[in-house]
Subunit: 191 residues, 6 copies
């Protein structure tokens, strides 16, 4: 069922944590990279802030391309599609930023993402990870879905106090302040 | 009469199941592929979610092109038009996703689609089939139109309980969780 | 006077039948094809549905180009303008579909259209002719304007009952279910 | 003063007659043609109908280019700007159609337009001249401005009855049904 | 302080006179011309009429390029940016037309503009200068700002009566009916 | 924590001072320059005035490129992204103008920006620095964030009176009237 952990470690799909008026939820960020001309497509009923977030994710990767082991001309020679299923559900906000970068880097390098990892955090053009809202609700939803590891902004560490111990004991929290740390923990080792 | 089963197994036209304020309905997804420059046209008073659904369908096919037996440069060298008649009726939602992929693959490979098949299901960039709403109403409308086979999301199997036995006995239900299964069952065998 | 039959069999102009809040009317669909780069222009205060209808008309012709005796590269090497005078009157709906295809094919092949013919019907990408509304009012307006032949969707045959005998006796009705039939009856024989 | 007749026979500027909520007025249609890439610019606070009217004017000229003595590639090798001063006054409607064609042809052929001529009439893609509203008010405004010749749609001849004799005696009316007649009367003889 | 006369005769910046709900004001029209591809950028919270005014200014210059001593390909080989500071203040109307032409010609020819000159007037594609509103308020604001010369439309001469003698005695008014006269008086002699 | 001074002197990121309904705040202007085709991207929920401000910043740099030591073709051969984190917070106004120029020049020349410097001021195409609002609130927010130097418009010097002595004693104010002065004081010496 959708809303549950992936059944294998996927390439090009990362699991984000959302916080809406209806509570926490998990969402898949899917990335498809095909030969093209540098067109970026963003679908899944995304709000303006989330679309800008995707553009920042792309720019971050373009500026770190060499360091990330990505082909120099990847942007001009491919079309990139970022889609967030369930297509009828509106989504917005900047907190999927690190999830988008992770899904993009995975699609561009064929590195597998650990399926038990959920993540949330705004990302800047320089890769800093900024705090987000709703950590408690996001964490509870991640727990329900069977995830075991949460990558989160270091600036949200204070919010861990609000999360029930019964949930925290099942989860590993990885507080990060830079995108490099996210990638280190999100990819399957050895990939 | 429109709203009835096709009179022969068509190429480039698949039958979807819609669920609106006025109940269930069937709708044709028509695809035309002509030599061009990679332009995608979407018509038939489609809402934003349905248009995004079409873009996801295209991206899915672009990323699986080799496996689907479709020419490598099909996207850059053709213009693609997806039209959903009756042009005055507003249509929306992601549930025509698998129908769009099926009509597109048929048009691109000249494989015939079984005219007795109706289908409904959201599709993701990776080909997963996600659950939809209104299965009961969609099924009853399919039955009225003379369809005999319904391809539907595996996650909707629980909704089969709500459909009257008198209708179910005339129909074959094919629950699927991936787009590959849809294509296997939608195309005429041997094509 | 505008709103009357043409004074000779025209090329690139077909007569459609409209049905508005003010009753039936006839309208000219004018097509101009000039050397260009594949630009399509739609004017005459057309609503979104009517514009999509024009795009479906173009796609139908592009996919049947060889069969219709139209040059292979006609679309990339011309600019096409579809205009519907009286420019201040809003027009909408899909029922001018077959009229648009007829005017386009005439302009592209230099075949003359019989000036005594009026027509109405939605067209799909595959050339099916779908039913329309307001046949009675459209027919009465055609009669007033001096037209003698009405091409109409086969699915509207049941609506002929509502038309007064005094009008029907002056008119020839040609019910059609495919675009091929429309063209057969709309063009001047021998052209 | 603006709102008066030109002081010499101009090239690329024709005088139209407008009818607004504030009564009749005359307006200049200015056309500038400069080497470029086929861009069309429309300014002067023009409404959508008036903009479409300009596009129809251009298409008419493109389809008659040879007959009008205009260079074959004029459209692809020039940028065309149609401007209607006074820039703060909203303008709309199709009745400036024949004025736009006249100003465009003048700019493209360097033929001078008779400065004492005002004109009004919708134009179709095939050059038919369709009737307009407000002939009485337009005529009185033309008279006030010192114009002596009014080119008008043949279908508006019946409206001449409403114009006071004291004004009609100073004016020559030229009723036309096709654009060719407009050009014959608008250009300075011998040009 | 902004709102005061420039401290030297600038290139590419001309001083316009504005009339808003808050009274008269002066505004700088800044033009930047850099090697590019013919892109025109208009910023400074400009309304639609003022943007169209800028486009008319450009077209006027393109059609007089040789006579103005401007390079033949200036438009295709440069990007042009017209900016009107203070960026947070909305501006609109056609009366900055002659100011825009002046700033553009200065930027394109490196001619210095006399810093003591303010100007107001709509410009047409053919260079005619049309009357504007608010001459009194504009003049008083120009006086406060230290300007000594006002270029204004000849058709506004009648409005000079309304301006207090105490202000008029400090100012030189130059009424003009064509853009050529504006440039003659705006540029530093010998430049 | 975001909202605090950078931990080292950054390249391509400058600190602006904002004034909103909620008081003063500091904001980072991030610039990313990557090989591309001259595309400018502006993200971070920026209002229209702030976007125009960014365009003016770009044009200023393009017109001074040689003097600033920036490669001649930098604009055509790169894509530039200006992002202002926190992506969910709306931002507007022209007062980030000098901050944007500074961040852009830093990114294009690899010069380090002094991390203890905050700045505010509108910039014109010619590099003049125009006054801004909210200097008091901006200054207090800068002080809270640990900044020690404030670059501000010379025309705002009168507003320094309103700032408490207890804050002023910790801060160095640098009033400027031209962009050159901003760059002189913003970059790390020797860079
Ligand atoms: Ca969900
Ligand atoms: Ca999220
Ligand atoms: Ca139906
Ligand atoms: Ca459906
Ligand atoms: Ca009519
Ligand atoms: Ca119709
Ligand atoms: Ca007037
Ligand atoms: Ca008119
Ligand atoms: Ca001011
Ligand atoms: Ca002004
Ligand atoms: Ca903040
Ligand atoms: Ca600011």
């Amino acid at each position: 069922r959708y809303g549950q952990m992936e059944t294998e470690d996927p390439i090009g799909t990362a699991t984000g944590l959302a916080y809406t008026a209806f509570g926490g939820d998990i969402l898949s960020i899917e990335v498809s990279v095909v030969p093209g001309k540098g067109k970026l497509q963003l679908t899944g009923k995304l709000g303006d802030v989330m679309k800008e977030s995707a553009q920042a994710a792309i720019s971050y990767i373009r500026s770190r391309q060499a360091m990330l082991g990505i082909n120099e001309n990847f942007y001009q020679t491919n079309d990139i599609h970022i889609h967030v299923p369930e297509g009828a559900t509106p989504k917005d906000g900047p907190s999927a930023g690190i999830t988008m970068v992770t899904a993009l880097v995975s699609a561009l390098t064929n590195k597998r993402i650990r399926r038990e990892v959920g993540m949330t955090g705004e990302v800047t053009l320089r890769g800093r990870v900024l705090p987000i809202g709703g950590l408690k609700e996001k964490t509870m939803s991640a727990h329900r879905s069977g995830l075991t590891t949460i990558i989160m902004p270091k600036d949200n560490e204070k919010d861990l106090d609000d999360i029930p111990e019964s949930i925290k004991k099942d989860l590993t929290f990885i507080p990060v302040s830079h995108m490099d740390e996210v990638l280190t923990h999100a990819f399957v080792e050895g990939d």
